[in-house]
Amino acid sequence: MSVTPSAEITVPKLRSATILSMLKKGLRASGRGLTDFRPIEIVPGYVPNADGSALVKLGNTVVIAGVKLEVGSPYPDTPNEGALVVSAEFMPTASPTFEPGPPDENAIELARVIDRSLREIKAIDMEKLVIVPGRRVWVVYVDIYVLDHDGNLVDASSIAALAALMDTKLPKVEVDELGNVKVDRNSRSGPLQLRHKVVTVSIAKAENVLFVDPDIEEERVCETKLVITVSDDGRIAGMQKSGLGALSVEEVVRATEIALKVSKDLLVIVEKSLTRPT
């Protein structure tokens, strides 16, 4: 059952009043502009045992994404495509309010939003992931762990997932005459092929003001969020209203405009982090 959440960690009244009254004037308590992201730091290849990985810091929010490739069977209805499995966990390290255990509805929603972002636009070239046609394919596991929670987990996670995928190299495989597959993780046959790059832009709403990349205090005072996935060719590749409140139609349209604009910068940042020598 999904339950109305209690505000686990409440923002002190005075602080929340300040944030809201500043927002009304189009200002943010942190001094950021309404469409400014916090500083983004990306460390690709952070986890040697992963086939691809990235540590992402978005302000004080810290997320790790890792990719593991496993040999599996294709889905019956897509015999000549690989498969994608995205999961997310909010680690108890990230907040005093996070309990250890299987992912809750927030983590599941986050994972599914990112899964659809990648899946619907076919970001990964799934047909390149066939090992034995109709029988053996690569299954791409993207696992996202939130290690420190200072707000906007979705965008931090979507950046981490994208960076980890861009960092991914396929292990070498040998297929014998019987179709048995032997994986050699010590050699790599090449990078994972991406057809599209996508990022999410989460637009927060409070006092009828829209703004991006809310930190944890802003999240706690905002009414609702609209997560918008944008692709590198400027299309809308996913959307999810998340949170208690609602938006007017006009706000939805405006949020979309903001996301389309901001996403370009985000994609540039990810691109750069992966091409610079690390």
């Binding site: 059952m1 999904s2 636009i121 939805v252």
Partner: protein, 241 residues
């Protein structure tokens, strides 16, 4: 796998509907005896039952809030409601939709009237032919009203899809599966609020704007049916007295 043709040469959809045409919509409230409120909603072959218990006290006191009722919502599919048998274990999809549907109802329920209580909403998908989450929002909304929970507005849902490059209203299972985009929307029409919005698929900005308009148009029709359903039940009750 041969590509499924979703639009016929005459521009009509695979089931003969026009692009902006809803499926036959049926609604019924008060269908269960032991629930505080209930509703059965059908969009074509999609059939959804919603029941509400509460506002009520619950043993899990730590969940309650001092200034409002909490909503608890479960979206659940019967094993035989789908083409392939659904495993009885809760799927990640069901967990996500339970949240999304709850959050579609939160803006209209006047939860502040019943502090320290729970309002429980149970949704059973009896037959799934596309649009189950949007039909669920409509059914839950009617069940809440039937339970006498004060609401700012009814919320109704409808999905818009893109099939063979064309935007179409109230997509069914086949259109969802083989189409290019599925955009479920729930709105509180009198308040002018969008309370649920998802996009699974890819749209240009122009397509998105058009899809949103189409959804609003369909929602208004469903809203009118929902209000009519409640009114005739209310009148019916009157007559019986």
């Amino acid at each position: 796998m041969g590509r499924v043709k979703l639009l016929r040469e005459d521009g009509l959809r695979h089931d003969g509907r026009k692009p902006d045409e809803l499926r036959p919509i049926r609604m019924q409230v008060g269908v269960l005896n032991k629930a505080s409120g209930s509703a059965l909603v059908e969009y074509g072959a999609t059939k959804v039952l919603a029941a509400v218990h509460g506002p009520r006290e619950i043993p899990q006191k730590h969940l309650l809030l001092p200034n409002r009722a909490i909503l608890r919502c479960r979206y659940h599919m019967l094993t035989f409601s789908t083409h392939e048998r659904k495993s009885p274990a809760p799927s990640r999809r069901e967990i996500e939709l339970s949240k999304v549907i709850r959050e579609a109802l939160e803006p209209v329920v006047m939860a502040e009237v019943f502090p320290r209580t729970a309002i429980d909403i149970f949704i059973e998908v009896i037959n799934a032919d596309g649009g189950t989450r949007t039909a669920s929002v409509t059914a839950a909304s009617l069940a809440l009203a039937d339970a006498g929970i004060p609401m700012r507005d009814l919320v109704v849902g409808v999905a818009v899809g893109k099939v063979d490059g064309v935007l179409v209203l109230d997509i069914d299972e086949v259109e969802d599966m083989y189409g290019e985009a599925d955009m479920p929307v729930a709105v509180a029409p009198s308040l002018g609020l969008v309370t649920l919005l998802q996009l699974n698929g890819v749209l240009t900005r122009e397509e998105f704007d058009e899809a949103l308009k189409l959804a609003l148009k369909g929602a208004q029709v469903i809203y009118n049916i929902a209000r009519e359903t409640l009114k005739s039940r209310y009148l019916g009750v009157k007559v019986e007295e």
